[in-house]
């Protein structure tokens, strides 16, 4: 059977493992609540992570189209970008997928040169995904700095206007 087909059949299990891998970067007492992945609004972290990973998994198998992954990636990366992780910690979950896919491909296929090639191709897709994720992470960080600066500006706008330090925009 085609490797992708095998992986597709094991989707649930693979995404479970991937989800657990990302949860392992949180305190063990926080993981229980995060596992209630149906609770879209009261457990937005678990819900978004789970949904995001499912979407990313499908995208990886499809060879990944940038506009399909952005939303799914965003659901995970945007939050982790403001949590107490370094960039590498924040994004390491993506590489976990390589190991998980290898484990899922299983002994039945190991040694088969075609499967090995296919796995290497998927590794390449995952690497690309990581690069996208890195861009997005940087974008989020820049947004945070921009917001910090902008709030300071907003706060003084009327006062500067009053001191006539800001020219009125004329049509």
């Amino acid at each position: 059977m085609d490797l992708k087909e095998i992986l597709r059949q094991k989707r649930e299990d693979i995404v479970d493992r991937w989800f657990e891998a990302i949860l392992s970067s949180y305190h063990e007492d926080a993981r229980g609540p995060m596992r209630r992945t149906q609770a879209q609004f009261t457990n937005p972290v678990g819900f978004n992570f789970r949904e995001g990973l499912e979407g990313l998994f499908d995208a990886v198998l499809q060879g990944m189209l940038p506009d399909t992954v952005t939303g799914f990636l965003d659901a995970i990366v945007r939050l982790r970008a403001v949590q107490d992780f370094s960039p590498s910690q924040s994004l390491s979950f993506i590489f976990e997928l390589k190991k998980i896919l290898r484990a899922a491909a299983g002994a039945e296929l190991s040694g088969d040169p075609e499967t090995a090639d296919e796995l290497v191709r998927l590794d390449g897709v995952i690497d690309d995904l990581a690069l996208f994720a890195f861009d997005l992470h940087m974008e989020c960080r820049e947004k945070i700095y921009a917001l910090k600066a902008q709030e300071a500006r907003d706060m003084t706008f009327r006062l500067l206007q009053k001191a006539q330090l800001i020219a009125e925009h004329q049509e």
Partner: protein, 539 residues
């Protein structure tokens, strides 16, 4: 091969707390998670203890030698004074119902942000010092010594709680973590351990009457700008009065709405509404702050800052007081003002001069929230409204914790909103009304240096907004709170770009047809009205 640890290893090593358990794990101060420490000047001005330069991330907090005694005595005092505190120290059964209800826990995944553990921060010390079991058995009975590390942990986590009370809704015993945080912050203030974002506004308010330290001419000047803008939009020049003796009503609102968008549009809304009603009211440049950051430091300070409101009402000889849109302001006014600085028996029970409605609910404190006031006007058909002027907006409603969960004001703002807009969409049920999710920036945590904390804490709220944005095209988030207006803007920009933030009375003023106004072509923000935009498109 390089010896560098792999990212996956790093992630595992550094983010998991060591196995010692939370009680023995000193807190690590992470950038973006805490605010700047209070400046000596801000503390000195109001006579708070231990004014000095200090930095929260420094090892040495420059505490008085007997700091521990001060805290333990402080706890003893408060156990005597507040029955709620005593009760909350004793009755938690650790059922865990509150554990995952706090927006800060949800957003950070940090167990010490579980309400039950936040309370344990103090409770453990209480057990050790004030219960027989704790004194004898120590840790076995859940007690622990008050050390500098514990104190730092208090500071870090009591400034990661917005006193929103969401957790208390789910506690079978009604344990209110907000009350515990209030006491926790009071204790910290005994040692000068405040944040400048609170201490600064407190001293400003004490000296100048408002958090920003705006002097009378600046207040008047800022309002003048709004009056210019109102004239541009409506063709009407409004002339409000300031500090006018003998006015019927004193209007008090948070100063935040006087100087920063989008709050300014809400303030313009008040000006227009009161003008249209011909209300006999006055602004005060002295009681120029409805909010009360003193409430986030100590009961005593809250009381001191609040006293100017009744004092000014008395000086001006008004009959009653009308309050602008604010969250914590309203909790302080409704739940504390009367006890602190009342009885205000020189005032009359508020009665709307327009509808004749007597606000029985304000019989004692003599102050009415503008959302109640306007709801009554609309109910009695006193306003001419054209909600289609707000047709470019699809609005959802954020219940601000203090007014909604704290004070039960759930229907009045919705009633007003539905009368002034045609497109209103509720957010999912678990995230509104009593169960509303906090903006993540309340209780003086709306500084900029803790932006990461705010974005995490505000994530559950933003997540619900995102849902109605994506599924129903919502593009505006309404609320009746000045801190919301200031802080949700950044939250939306990070999580749900394309959704703006506004106060209720901005929408009211957009829809309200004023006597003798010119044909309006824009809303208060200068955006073309839907009808005009449609015409332009055709042309």
């Amino acid at each position: 091969m390089s010896k560098l640890p792999k990212p996956a290893e790093l992630a595992k090593v550094s983010y998991q707390l060591p196995k010692t358990g939370w009680m023995d794990t000193p807190v690590e101060f992470k950038p973006g998670m805490f605010c700047h420490g209070s400046k000596p000047k801000s503390l000195e001005l109001v006579g708070f203890p231990n004014p000095r330069e200090w930095r929260p991330a420094d090892a040495d907090w420059k505490l008085p030698e007997n700091w521990k005694e001060i805290i333990i005595e402080g706890i003893a005092d408060r156990l005597k004074k507040y029955r709620s505190f005593r009760l909350f120290m004793d009755i938690c059964v650790r059922c865990g119902a509150c554990a995952d209800k706090c927006h800060f826990f949800i957003g950070t995944g940090d167990p010490r942000n579980m309400p039950v553990l936040r309370a344990e921060l103090i409770r453990s010390v209480y057990r050790k010092e004030f219960t027989t079991a704790g004194k004898i058995l120590g840790k076995m009975a859940g007690g622990r010594e008050l050390t500098l590390d514990v104190l730092k942990e208090w500071w870090y986590y009591f400034y990661q709680c917005t006193e929103c009370r969401r957790c208390s809704v789910f506690c079978p015993y009604g344990i209110d973590q907000a009350e515990i945080t209030i006491i926790g912050r009071e204790l910290l203030n005994l040692l000068g351990l405040n944040i400048e974002w609170i201490a600064g506004p407190v001293s400003n308010c004490y000296m100048k009457g408002n958090h920003l330290g705006l002097e009378p001419h600046t207040i008047v000047g800022n309002l003048e700008y709004m009056l210019d803008d109102i004239e541009t939009v409506t063709g009407k020049r409004i002339k409000p009065t300031f500090n006018r003796k003998g006015a019927e009503i004193l209007f008090v609102t948070p100063s935040g709405d006087l100087f920063a968008d989008p709050g300014t549009y809400t303030a313009m809304g008040y000006l227009m509404l009161f003008e249209e009603l011909g209300l006999d009211y006055t602004w005060s440049t002295y009681a120029s702050e409805g909010g009360n950051f003193g409430f986030f430091t100590s009961n005593e300070m809250g009381k001191r800052l609040n006293s100017k409101i009744y004092a000014e009402a008395k000086r001006l000889g008004v009959k009653w007081i009308l309050g602008g849109e604010c969250g914590h302001m309203w909790r302080v006014l409704s739940q504390y003002m009367d006890t602190w600085n009342g009885p205000a028996d020189f005032l009359e029970v508020p009665k709307s001069p327009i509808t004749g409605t007597v606000f029985e609910n304000a019989k004692s404190m003599k102050m009415v929230h503008v959302a109640e006031f306007t709801a009554d006007l609309i109910k009695n058909n006193k306003l001419k409204l054209d909600p289609s002027r707000n047709d470019h907006l699809k609005v959802t409603w954020h219940d601000s914790c203090n007014v909604a969960r704290g004070m039960g004001m759930l229907e009045e703002p919705r009633y007003v909103l539905k009368s002034v807009v045609n497109n209103f969409v509720e957010m999912p049920e678990d995230t509104i009304r009593e169960k509303t999710f906090c903006c993540g920036s309340g209780t003086g945590l709306n500084a900029s240096e803790n932006m990461e904390l705010r974005m995490k804490g505000g994530f559950p709220r933003a997540n619900a907004v995102k849902y109605v944005h994506e599924h129903h095209g919502v593009n505006m988030l309404g609320n009746v709170c000045a801190i919301d207006r200031a802080s949700l803007k950044a939250l939306m920009e990070y999580w749900v770009p394309g959704v703006g933030v506004c106060g209720l009375h901005e929408l009211v003023a957009n829809a309200m047809i004023m006597t003798g106004e010119k044909e309006r072509t824009t809303d208060l923000r200068g955006e073309p009205l839907p009808s005009v935009a449609a015409k332009e498109e055709k042309a």
